[in-house]
Subunit: 205 residues, 2 copies
Amino acid sequence: MADQSGPTLTRIQQKNRDLILEGALSAFSTNGFRGATVDQIAEAAGLSKPNVLYYFPTKDEIHKTLLTTLLDMWLAPMMRIDPKGEPLAEVMAYVRAKLEMSRRFPRESRLFAYEILQGAPHLTEILGGSLRGIVDTAAAILQNWMDQGRLARVDPHHLIFSIWALTQHYADFDVQVRAVLGPGHDPFVEAEPFIDNLYRKMLSV
Amino acid sequence: MADQSGPTLTRIQQKNRDLILEGALSAFSTNGFRGATVDQIAEAAGLSKPNVLYYFPTKDEIHKTLLTTLLDMWLAPMMRIDPKGEPLAEVMAYVRAKLEMSRRFPRESRLFAYEILQGAPHLTEILGGSLRGIVDTAAAILQNWMDQGRLARVDPHHLIFSIWALTQHYADFDVQVRAVLGPGHDPFVEAEPFIDNLYRKMLSV
DNA sequence: TCCTTTATTGACCAATTGGTCAGGAACAGG
DNA sequence: CCTGTTCCTGACCAATTGGTCAATAAAGGA
């Protein structure tokens, strides 16, 4: 999906671009696009500001590169839904994978959350384009299973939305969840059986 | 919860403060705290920038006032859960109220979303304080119903989180939802039966 | 080693932006 | 009317910040 090709990079370029993207991920996911400064990114990357701008022409470009680079990884689990698999097991595997991504990659989750909240200025064409296609494909598989009576009948698109909402909530609203639960809780550990049970009850025929 | 008292305001003060808060709600919910400028707020309010700063000493103060003012309204539905009511009906009423709030007040939803994403710099004490208390109260009611066998047994706190996640998703990620569904869909109209069915299936004994 | 290419940076610039201030306009109440 | 208070604004300031640039340092290949 994202263009992974391009001119070959020197070792130094590869390393520094990676450092910058890593630092930018931290900065953007903490403060949003406007809130993050190039200086912050530079410091997080261990480089000077002009050096950052040497590898990426603009702050905007860093942001766009991050988004498009990470989008594939973010959507990968949905594309692994196997039409030949056992319906409920496939859905549960997707749900579990998505929750695991929230747990392991909360910065990425927040990065996308900011972008969508903002109105997705850098992702509009992708949202209505390839993302929509991927979702439609998954929805068609689900719909098929429902038509065969192997899964309870619900709106497949909203089923997918619900999985996104439930799992990403634990990454995006982490501070709220932890504040409400108080110390001594691991939100993700507790969330898994809850969400598991939820989809089992809703989707079992 | 929020301090609604204070010195009496002249008619003109009342009107202009309202204009400013209304403009600020639009600005902050669209661009986040850092992204919104005092000029934007002033223009949205139909006032000059110095005049805005005449009514509120700082941009920060406007933001804090907005959050605390709106928090009560935002949490109100949860406090209307009636321990003497019919369990499933009470939960469903709460879910429906929350979805309706997402539909009617998406700006407020986004305002809170930005704040929590940011790490809730203005709400930390509230999150772990009164909010936690309110949630615990509601959770206790739910737990009680479950102990009486009038509601399926699930983690009550995560049940509440799931309601927040599912309903606010349609306000906060509106552009994504609409982009994926394509034109000719009303997300909220479709979401209601889906979510309704979800909680009915999960919570019926 | 030499020389071309690539990396790096301190100093700087222009635009944005939160906030100030002195003074004027509108508006009470007497 | 007059007068004190409230309301409003143009002009301005200092800090922040995205981005530039000339000059220097480091690689790297022949």
